[in-house]
Symmetry: C2
Subunit: 79 residues, 2 copies
DNA sequence: ATATAATGTCCAAAATGTTTGACATTGAGC
DNA sequence: GCTCAATGTCAAACATTTTGGACATTATAT
């Protein structure tokens, strides 16, 4: 009688790539350097391989000068 | 010639405790259960010991039914 | 005074995010 | 053709977040 409600982890979505290309001329490596991360990390996050830490997420939206929720959203049932 | 610009990690601030007590009657354990985390995790995050993952942060603001930036903010130079 | 709920602490292990270095692919320009 | 910058991939180390269990403190109620 499985009464255990498993909370699905959900998936964090982002449009970093779109904003990076639309609002800046930054490469992944350059963005990484500006926000204190490596280019591999930017690649992985843009590709949705994993969600960034809160700190990194805030540094990214700050660099872009856009509101947080314009870059990151949440799909509760995703993946 | 230290040309290395260290990006400070910065500190993520939250007012989970205030909202939990003001807008809900939830205990830390109950909130934890609702958002799929343990009570130790809620305690640590409320106490500012570390920032939550993106997933957990989104599940929390979702439970509270308040905008993301009403709960979480960023102090770029903090700690 | 003792019972109970809520909060807090500590610790080790598990899970997730990040770095480093190396190498592969793609597209643009010469 | 070739070169070069940008992007992508992989694996191993490392850092941070999360868990589970045990135990302590505080306040409230009986």
């Amino acid at each position: 009688m499985s009464k255990l409600k498993k909370i699905p982890k959900g998936k964090v979505l982002n449009c970093i790539r779109r904003i990076r290309l639309a609002r800046t001329n930054l490469t992944q490596a350059e963005l990484g350097k500006l926000v204190g991360a490596t280019r591999q990390t930017i690649i992985a996050i843009e590709a949705g391989k994993y969600a960034p830490s809160m700190e990194l997420a805030f540094r990214i939206v700050r660099e872009f000068e856009v509101p947080f929720d314009e870059v990151f959203s949440f799909d509760p049932d995703g993946s």
